[in-house]
């Protein structure tokens, strides 16, 4: 069975924290993400251009940081995340080359909707200074 088909052995409940994912951001990774996604916005890949913007240098794609968050959700919820998972996030601050991003998540509540139990989660990611890079929420079926 593929990893997406696996279900975590432990059933999560309200108050549980999700396993953090830690990633190092580099310009090389950002360039690779631009190629893989087709998003060649110069703010991500052109240092000279990005230096003229309020960011003062290149920044990672928000979706790259969101991929780290999604990896955390996959580890916690398996297939349920890949089929039926929902998220809503805001990108609060840029992730820059050299940053280390750590994801965070927590099951805030569980709710029974017509016999199907869902977990409502808070989620996010911070850089090495503790600054919030991504913040939001998610809903995913349990079990």
């Amino acid at each position: 069975m593929s990893s997406l088909g696996k279900q975590p052995k432990t059933k999560l409940k309200a108050g549980d924290t999700l396993p953090a994912v830690v990633k190092h951001v580099s310009q090389e990774k950002i360039n690779l993400y631009a190629e893989a996604s087709g998003d060649f916005n110069p703010i991500h890949i052109d240092e000279a251009f990005a230096r003229q913007t309020p960011f003062g240098g290149t920044v990672a794609h928000g979706m790259l940081c969101l991929a780290y968050v999604s990896e955390m959700m996959t580890a916690a919820f398996g297939r349920s995340w890949a089929v039926g998972g929902r998220l809503s996030v805001r990108f609060k601050a840029p992730a820059r080359p050299g940053d280390t991003i750590t994801t965070e998540g927590k099951v805030v509540s569980t709710v029974d909707e017509e016999g199907v139990v869902y977990a409502n989660c808070s989620l996010g990611a911070r850089n090495q200074k503790g600054e919030t890079v991504v913040v939001g929420e998610a809903k995913v079926k349990l079990g």
Partner: protein, 140 residues
Amino acid sequence: MKERSTDKTSAGAGFDQLVKGYEFSPVSYELSKSAISKYLEAVAGQGGYPSSDFVPPMCVAARSLGVLSGLISLLAGAIHTSQELEFLKLVPVGTTIECHGRVVQKLQRGRLRLLVIGLSTFNQDKEQVLAGKTTLVLPG
């Protein structure tokens, strides 16, 4: 990823043309094994995914935003400020997805220019596999 677009207008669409309801022409991508490998390298691996028969859902999302690439390249410096996503169906490796985008909200106040784009992605059987909403702030 092999890209096929029938869109000759979106790449040239300026902010003025992007009125509420504007629909980008669909863009198709084949999510081949090599394309997914490149994505996984970019996100520094996702334990177990490379041996999976399915595409990581965020890889599908990343490509779905490709529908906006013409707009983004035109409006260099656009900032992605928020994202909503719903993963509806697993996508097997090798699937060709078709991505649709539509302007659902447009705001211009002084130097602030904001666009909200609705995303819908379908598999080869025309089943929706992903839904989303992307908010972009554009340089004034």
